[in-house]
Amino acid sequence: MLKLTDVNTFYGPIQALKNVSLTVNPKEIVSLLGGNACGKSTTMKTILGLVRPKHGRVEFFGRRIDRLPSSDIVRAGIAPVLEARRLFPFLTVHENLLMGAYTRNDTEGIRTDVERMYALFPVVKERNRQLASTLSGGEQQMVAMARALMARPKLLIMDEPSMGLSPLYVDKVFEIIQMINREEGVAVLLVEQNANMALSIACRGYVLQTGEIVLHDTAENLKNNPLMQKAYLGVA
């Protein structure tokens, strides 16, 4: 459903992505792994249209989206969970959910989806009247996921959703990603530094190194790949 072909993205003279190609198929969880500053977030931003690739193409269901405005990309069915959550700090939790549904106009549907999110994330319901900035990191991550789901996406792209969370919330986040994928059929592109966790729920994985894809395989094979074990999985 999502297909990147030879994507090259620059920040001024600095090349952040070099010939990145990757695909995500319907209902799949695909993880994009790599260390700091290797271009994971840039890949996400390129998909979302927040930065533009200089060469290469991004397609979604066969339609080219790399020149579309972000608003059209979101409308097409891609919703993000941004790095460091990026909730609107001085909007209430409830308003943050509504912002997630910005591209929708079905008032009734939005209302039932808010209720659905409250059922899925009890903490979001408890805190729905509070300003987002008053929540803990883990709670904010729940809101960020609920906000993304409010767009009713076909593809969820998540940028390091486990970053900075307590182990308890890390488990919760991965559990919810699996559940969303299984029960709602939402495909997920999961950007992570936590390779162990990411590969435990993903079908396939790509490894980025300084802007280039250096490895691509099934999650099983990646877990057993000696290079991976040494560099990313912390196996001696």
Partner: protein
Amino acid sequence: MPSFLFDQFINGLTQGSVYALLALGFTMIFGTLRMVTFAHGEVYMMGAYMGFEIIRLLYPSFLLALLAALVATAMLGIVVELLAFHFLRNAPHATSLLVTIGISILLVNLAQKIWGPETQSIPFGRIDQLGNFEIEIAGVYITFLQIAVLGVTVLLMLVLYFVINRTKLGMVIRAMAQDYEAASAMGVNVNVIYMAAFAIGSMLGGVAGVLVGVYYNMFYPTMGGIYGLKAFSASVVGGLTSLPGAVVAGLLIGLVETFSVEFGASNFRHVFSFVFMILILLLRPGGLFGGKEMAHTRGD
């Protein structure tokens, strides 16, 4: 309170409420775009002339004058946004600032061409037709024009409060002010919202222009200069991104100015109000309501 003080208090509130409107407009624009416009005073001036022409030529109605100014300055605001910001989104900030200065000079010259450089007035007969009564409170007479200025500003503030806190557009404007990248990642068409914020801010300025123009019955091409500065300063004193801050700062500045006149400093009233603002900023460098990011209340 002795009645001459109460009298000045009403005068100060009237003056201050206009500053508040201007500062609100400025804050709307800065809060959303994070960019300063130096053409706000000239948008105000254009609004004033719009009211001038309507009342002078068409029909002596405050309401009609205000509506005309609203429409005209909303469109003018959109033009300013397009020229100074939209087409220069990736240019250095200073470029946009310079363009707004250029637009302000252009608008002053345009007004000079159309209406001449001298001060124009609406014939007093026409002004009287707008409404001509006074009400007495505690021995002080409040004129129709004062009631109109205060009434219109309070009404507009309520409308703005409603739009910002209770509508989808308002929520999106607040979200953009807080994190525009996250807002565009939610699918917000940021260009449209920038334009809407600019239009709303300019409308507030345009209404202020009609109110001041008619209140003093003086219309001249450079009338926006000092008011643009006051709007900017009141907005800074209020905290730059705080709408309630803009209102409080605007009212305070109006009161300080009026009372400085009362106590014999009429030639120095602008000096007084700027000294007052500097004092506040020395005490509270972030402004009265600094850091509130257009998020004063919640709406749902």
